[in-house]
């Protein structure tokens, strides 16, 4: 008896010891990995991915390819290691187009061990991917659920309205029935032949219309009403001819301004860089997209695949995200122009953006909230002129107005001013 309890106690002791130890190592490891992750994100992720090659090679399994001491000296100063004649280092350098890796002398050996621990941990097949896919699917289901909920609600409202209409009509019919019955009782026998029950309702209707058409006042008002209705409708249509306000075409790529300018806070003029310096705000060429999208593929939302919309950029510019090289089979993206001034009107973006300092949103509306862009302003002449009448010119520290002010000062002080001073010999004054 005593023996058994002794053995039991011993076993229990060792089990708890093992448990505590493993907990402790787990905890320490978790700490390491966490620190390694933040260091990796700060110092390594600009060039290395775990699963995919970015600028440098993918780091998956790096601790199996090289031993720890070698990795530490490589990360501390790869160029020094190459210069010292280390064969593995030279081979690695040659294999990757002699791309230099910056030295990281500030990372301690423990830092590097933590980074390597993180890389090892991240190399393991992660259950997170499946979770992400599920999440995405769930989101989609949610979205379609929203739509069907909305439609269902609408249907119920329509049904309720229909029921009410039927109720009201029922009541009206009953009242009319009663009145007619009452009237019929007082109708004289002589008219009975004409008004007999077998008569078709169509004829009754025509008769009624005939009776009404003899009422001149009523006819006058009906005609007046129709004329008024048609002229207001016509007037509205005429005012809206050629006004594209609200125009929201379907673009070839589902580019979301709400994501890029709203969530990611990228300046409008990062992409539309022509707005500050030229007549056109310029639709960015694809190389501008690639400034970010050579790294951003949104693959975490698409099970590790490149997002289909980003893939459209790659197809157009013939970029292979795996080898990170451009091909020659390029084709333009056919964006659909939304804001289109007639060719008879001249508009210059730089004059409004740079000289006047007007915000893009003043004319284009809250673009940073638009998943798909629509035309916010009517872009009519009236709309332009209303703003030009109100807007005060800011001539202070504004080089555009310097000459104008100088000319006016000269005029005020009574100096001689020639037409040339006011731009009278500019080519366009005569040869427009």
């Amino acid at each position: 008896m005593r023996n058994i309890s002794l053995i039991f106690r011993r076993v229990a002791k060792s089990v708890t010891l093992v448990a505590i130890l493993s907990m402790a190592t787990l905890f320490v490891q978790a700490q390491d990995i966490k620190e390694g992750e933040s260091l990796f994100k700060a110092d390594c992720s600009a060039c290395h991915g775990v699963d995919r090659a970015v600028i440098g090679p993918a780091l998956k399994g790096v601790t199996e390819r090289h031993d720890e001491a070698w990795l530490i000296s490589w990360i501390h100063n790869s160029q020094a290691l190459i210069a010292s004649g280390d064969e593995a280092a030279i081979k690695l350098f040659e294999d990757h187009n002699k791309l230099m890796m910056p030295a990281f002398p500030t990372l301690t050996e423990d830092n590097i061990r933590n980074i390597l621990a993180y890389v090892d941990d991240a190399s393991k097949p992660a259950p997170a991917a499946a979770g992400g896919a599920e999440g995405a699917a769930g989101q989609q289901a949610g979205a379609s659920g929203d739509v069907s909920n909305f439609m269902f609600g609408g249907l119920i409202v329509v049904l309720i309205i229909a029921f009410l209409v039927i109720l009201v009509l029922n009541r009206v019919i009953r009242t009319l029935d009663r009145i007619i019955l009452k009237n019929r009782e007082s109708i004289t026998e002589g008219e009975e032949g004409e008004d007999d029950g077998g008569e078709s309702s169509g004829k009754v209707f025509v008769d009624k219309l005939k009776k009404l058409s003899r009422n001149k006042k009523l006819v006058f008002f009906v005609v007046l009403g129709i004329v008024a209705l048609l002229s207001t409708a016509g007037w509205n249509v005429m005012w809206n001819v050629g006004v594209h306000e609200g125009y929201q075409p379907v673009q070839p790529i589902k580019f979301s301004h709400q994501l890029h300018a709203g969530v990611n806070q990228i300046d409008c003029q990062y992409c539309h860089s022509g707005a500050a310096t030229s007549k056109n705000a310029s639709i960015p060429s694809l190389n501008v997209c690639m400034n970010c999208h050579n790294a951003v593929t949104a693959s975490e939302k698409y099970n590790g695949e490149v997002s289909p919309e980003i893939q459209k950029i790659y197809n157009a510019i013939d970029w292979d995200p795996d080898t990170r090289t451009y091909g020659t089979d390029t084709k333009p993206v056919e964006w659909i122009r939304i804001h289109n001034l007639p060719d008879l009107a001249y508009f210059n973006h730089s004059q409004h953006v740079t000289v006047a300092g007007i915000e893009c949103q003043r004319c284009h509306g809250p673009v940073e909230t638009m998943a798909e862009v629509y035309q916010y302003s009517p872009l009519t002449m009236k709309w332009c002129i209303e703003c030009h009448k109100e807007t005060e010119v800011n001539s202070k520290d504004n080089a555009y107005y310097d000459q104008l002010i100088a000319a006016h000062d000269k005029l005020k002080s009574g100096e001689k001013i020639t037409a040339a001073v006011l731009g009278g010999i500019e080519c366009g004054k005569c040869h427009y």
Partner: protein, 197 residues
């Protein structure tokens, strides 16, 4: 008599409601056409817009790439190649022609905030707005980082910074299409400011 019509009236009411429901359920409230237009030819220029489809060319692009070797009037050609040698040459021979005036510095800051800040950060430490959202990896800090071409970011010269803006490096793309040569020099000026921070 009306009792018979009752069914007809109720029926027509039901049809009207159903019709209204069907008609109003079409479309999602967006306007995918431009509405009524009069004399469309006054909207379309006689000449081609640069971004317009053009059937006169095999690739149907109006903005054709100029023939090789063509140089626009007033174009500043950047003479250094995108190699390590070109980079070092630019560092040795290419210097900022702009004066360090308050206005140039201010312009440089505005341009930096627009074109560089999303990654490099307002203070230049690689903590830009898009990096903070963890959507793009951080570039090295101008003040404390190491350059992947060797040396400290702090010691980058005029020519080296200009070279990188012009060609891009690693994950950074070329910003030559977005910045004119003068604007690039203004940005270089501001980056020098950030190297001190």
């Amino acid at each position: 008599m009306l009792a018979m019509n009752k069914i007809r009236i109720i029926g027509s009411a039901c049809i009207a409601v159903a019709l209204a429901a069907v008609v109003s359920s079409c479309g999602d409230g967006r306007t995918t056409d431009t509405g009524m237009e009069f004399s469309r030819n006054m909207y379309d220029p006689i000449g081609y817009n640069p971004d317009q489809l053009n059937n006169n060319f095999a690739n149907k692009i109006t903005a054709q790439t100029p023939p090789a070797g063509t140089v626009p009037i007033g174009f500043d050609k950047y003479p250094y190649e995108n190699t390590m040698e070109g980079y070092e040459e630019a560092s040795a021979n290419f210097h900022n022609p702009l004066e360090r005036t308050e206005k140039n510095l201010k312009d440089g800051e505005v341009l930096y905030l627009r074109f560089c800040q999303p990654c490099h950060g307002e203070s230049g430490h690689g903590d830009g707005s898009i990096v903070k959202l963890e959507k793009f990896p951080p570039p090295p800090s101008y003040a404390t980082g190491n350059s992947s071409r060797g040396g400290l970011m702090k010691d980058l010269t005029d020519g080296k910074i200009y070279h990188t803006i012009y060609y891009g490096l690693n994950l950074m793309g070329s910003h030559a299409s977005q910045l004119s040569p003068e604007e690039r020099w203004k940005v270089v000026m501001h980056v020098h400011e950030l190297q001190q921070r």
